[in-house]
Symmetry: C2
Subunit: 273 residues, 2 copies
C-alpha cells in the first residue's frame, strides 16, 4: 500500500485507528479455547467486527512467537485473512527487528515478502545499515522506534547527545538514509508534549502512536500537537479494544470501543479539515 492510499483510507473512514492484535491465550474468551486455532478465530472475529472503523491492524509478533510454530501459523492465517478479505487495510508487523545488513534483509524478506505485511517496526540502535535493507522495498513502510511509550524510554532515548536528545538525533540521522521516504516513526502517546518538537524534525512523516488508552495517553493531546496536513498519525489501541469483554460478546464490545475511538477521531478530523 502506498502512503497516498493510506491517506485516502483515513479520509474515507474518518479514522486513523490501528487495532493492536496482541493475543494472549490467558485473556481471550474461554469458549474459543476449544477451537483448533483460538488465536486466529479471536482475530477473525475482532477484524470482522472492527474493519470499517480502523485503517490498520498491528499484530505484535511476540504474542505469536510465544506459542511456537502454532503461533506463527496463527500469524500467517491472520495476515492472509486481512489481505484477502479487507485489502484496503494497512498492516503492521510489530516486530521491532534490526540487525547487520544481510540479516536485516532476511527480516525484511520475512515480513514484506513471506508474510506480505505493508510495514514492520524496527529498532534504531544498530544504525543505518540495519535499517536501509527494509527501506529498499517499494511501497512497503519501515516504522522506526523514536520515542517509545514505556518508562524505559527515559533510560536512553531522552539522554542528551551532542546538545539534543537521542530520539531527536535518531529522527534527524534517519532523514539522510537511502529511501527514507519509506520511514514512519513510533512515538508514544504518553509524551504528548514532545510532539511539537518531533514535528519540527519530521513534519510530513506518519507517526505510529501507542499508549492511548491502557497506557494513559490522551488522543486529543496527541492530535493537537502531532497531526499534520495529511493527519499523519496512526493511533494504536490494543488491550482497550480487543479485551473489552472476555465473554461471548467480545467482538461486539470490541466494536463498541473501536467505535468510540473512531467517533472521537471523526470529530477531530472534521474540525481540522
Amino acid at each position: 500500500m502506498t502512503t497516498q492510499q493510506l491517506i485516502e483510507q483515513i479520509k474515507i473512514k474518518k479514522s486513523f485507528l490501528a487495532v493492536g492484535l496482541d493475543v494472549d491465550l490467558d485473556k481471550i474468551p474461554k469458549h474459543l479455547l476449544e477451537l483448533e486455532d483460538p488465536i486466529f478465530e479471536f482475530n477473525k472475529a475482532i477484524i470482522d467486527a472492527t474493519h470499517d472503523l480502523c485503517v490498520a491492524y498491528k499484530p505484535n509478533t511476540a504474542f505469536y512467537e510465544a506459542y511456537g510454530i502454532k503461533g506463527w501459523m496463527s500469524l500467517q492465517k491472520t495476515i492472509n485473512y486481512i489481505n484477502e478479505t479487507y485489502p484496503d487495510i494497512f498492516t503492521i508487523a510489530d516486530a521491532k527487528r534490526g540487525d547487520i545488513g544481510n540479516t536485516s534483509s532476511m527480516y525484511a524478506k520475512a515480513f514484506f515478502e513471506d508474510l506480505n505485511f505493508d510495514s514492520v517496526t524496527v529498532a534504531p540502535y544498530m544504525g543505518k545499515d540495519s535499517v536501509e535493507p527494509f527501506l529498499a522495498f517499494e511501497n512497503k513502510h519501515t516504522i522506526m522506534l523514536a520515542l517509545t511509550s514505556n518508562e524505559g524510554a527515559f533510560d536512553f532515548q531522552t539522554l542528551t547527545v551532542d546538545g539534543k536528545e537521542l530520539y531527536k538525533q535518531v529522527l534527524e540521522t534517519s532523514k539522510t538514509w537511502k529511501n527514507c521516504e519509506n520511514l514512519m516513526y513510533v512515538v508514544g502517546a504518553t509524551k504528548a508534549e514532545y510532539f511539537t518538537e518531533i514535528r519540527k524534525i519530521v513534519p510530513d512523516s506518519f507517526l505510529l502512536v501507542p499508549g492511548v488508552g491502557a497506557q494513559g495517553g490522551s488522543l486529543s493531546e496527541v492530535c493537537k500537537y502531532g497531526m499534520n496536513a495529511n493527519v499523519g498519525l496512526l493511533i494504536n489501541s490494543s488491550r482497550g479494544i480487543i479485551y473489552a469483554s472476555n465473554g461471548t460478546d467480545f467482538a461486539e464490545k470490541a466494536r463498541a470501543e473501536a467505535l468510540k475511538m473512531q467517533q472521537e477521531m471523526e470529530g477531530i478530523i472534521s474540525l481540522k479539515f
Copy 2:
C-alpha cells in the same frame, strides 16, 4: 545452563567458539535442497562435525523467519537436536528482541520456554522495562547489544551522551537492573581497541563477539584486550565456518575451519591460564 557450567565447558574444550547458524538456502550445498528440510539437515551436519570444537551455537532467527512456518520448524528442530544430542552446548537465539514489558515477557517465553534456548540477544533502546522480563528467568542469559560490529554502530552507539559514549552508558545503566547478573553483552570484534574501556565497566561479564573472520576482526587482538579471569568471551563465527565449502564436503571443511579457530583459542588459553 549456568555461567559456571559454561566456564567449565570452555576449560574442557579449550575453546570459546560460538558457531553462527545463519543458514541461507542460496548458499548451502545444492544436493541438500532435495531433502525435506534442507536447513535442518545442513545444521545437523555442521553440528555433528563441530560440536567438540565449540561451546555454543547461535542460530540467527532472521534466517529462519525468512522461510515462514517451514523456517520456524527448522529452527525448532535445530534447537531440539542440540539440546537432546549435545546438552553441554550453550545455545544462543540471536533474535535482537525488545519491547514494552508485557511484550518482552512473551518474547522471553518464546525463546526460553517454548524453544528452550539458554540465551537470547536483545536491543537496549527501550530501556530497563524492556530487558528485565528476560532477566527474570533463572539460569537463562540475556545478551544485550552494546557495541556492534557493523558500520551503523557509529550512527548512535558511539555518540557522546552526558560526557560518555552511548554504549558505555548502556553498559553502566544495565548494571543497576534487577537480576543483572544474567546479562551478557554483544561487543563487535572490529573494534578491539574498545575492549579495554568496556572491561573497566563490566570486568566479569561474558561478551559475545561477532565480527571475527568475514567482518575483519582479529581474534588475538580481542583476546588481548577483552579476556578476563574466566575467559569471559564467546567468539562467534558464522559464514567463515558454515560456508567454508558448498560441495558435498561442506561439513568436513566447516570442521577444518572450526578446528583452526579452536587451536588458536587453545594457544591463547594455554598462555593465559
